[in-house]
């Protein structure tokens, strides 16, 4: 039987990160979303946190691999027998 009771704002506060990271079970997601639909304060908090995470992701840059490194690794692998070749 699924729990049909509404989450309190306090419970919503604890679910924040797991919800945004898609780590909640489907029935928990439903309960969170039911609360978000009726509680402006929690909706504001969740939106803020979600936008913050998106903003961080968009701005983080990854170091580019030097092109010669890829070639060196490929050459080393070609010269090395794989584990089932011996």
């Amino acid at each position: 039987m699924t729990d049909q009771t509404y989450l309190t704002c306090e419970e919503m506060f604890r679910h924040l990160e797991d919800y945004l990271d898609h780590e909640l079970r489907a029935e928990e997601v439903e309960r969170v979303e039911a609360h978000l639909a009726i509680c402006e304060i929690c909706a504001k908090e969740y939106a803020f946190e979600g936008n913050l995470l998106d903003g961080i992701r968009k701005k983080l840059t990854r170091a580019k691999m030097p092109p010669d490194l890829a070639r060196r690794i490929a050459a080393t692998l070609d010269a090395t027998p794989a584990s089932d070749d011996d």
């Binding site: 903003g55 170091a63 090395t80 794989a82 089932d84």
Partner: protein, 201 residues
């Protein structure tokens, strides 16, 4: 009939590896923060992956499998010794730290969501610096989370630790990051600037 293929061919392995090498280099750079060390770690990891490629289960996540090898090579290389000790205690930061600070500074008065505005004003370099300044145990999970889009399960696989550990480090690391980003935003006048952009009444 030949037995079902349980391992990859060397060619298939090569193309899987080539597909994640760029990302793995970025990860190695964020671990070592040094180009020469990152290259060494990645070369060693590639060789080791080739040696043990029959331990990879086709159908599972190759990137997570290879990142685990990169992580192990990094920890075994002794390059972690240069890092600051891990025993320093950091004050915990409450959830929604930045939200509370933004509300306190009146950034919600314009009606727009200030998180988007704050993030638009912060430079990529400031965000990267804040992430890299986190204590090692929070920094590494945060890198895997933000840069690689791994799930908690996949991060646990890469770091060979329980999912619960990933979750708590990730959540705490994020709160520490929020505090650092807020401090940067205050320091560089971003908060002041956004305060002056309130919508007309």
């Amino acid at each position: 009939m030949p037995p079902a293929q349980q391992t990859l061919s060397k060619d298939r392995f090569g193309s899987l590896l080539t597909g994640v090498l760029d990302q793995a280099y970025g990860y190695a750079m964020s671990l070592t923060r040094n180009r020469a060390d990152a290259e060494d770690v990645l070369q060693e990891a590639s060789l080791r992956a080739l040696r043990f490629y029959d331990t990879f289960k086709p159908g599972s996540n190759f990137k997570a499998w290879f990142f685990r090898i990169v992580t192990n090579c990094y920890y075994e290389s002794g390059r972690t010794k240069k890092r600051r000790p891990e025993t320093v205690e950091f004050d915990d930061v409450p959830r929604l730290y930045m939200f509370a600070q933004s509300a306190g500074a009146g950034l919600f008065d314009s009606g727009d969501d200030p998180a988007t505005a704050l993030m638009a004003q912060l430079e990529s370099e400031q965000i990267t610096d804040a992430l890299e300044a986190l204590p090692e145990e929070y920094r590494v999970v945060s890198m895997l989370y933000f840069m690689e889009d791994f799930s908690y399960d996949q991060i646990a696989q890469v770091l060979e630790c329980p999912v619960g550990t990933v979750r708590s480090r990730l959540h705490r690391g994020r709160r520490l990051l929020q505090k650092a980003l807020w401090q940067t935003a205050v320091e560089f006048g971003i908060v002041e600037k956004l305060k002056g952009q309130e919508a007309p009444a």
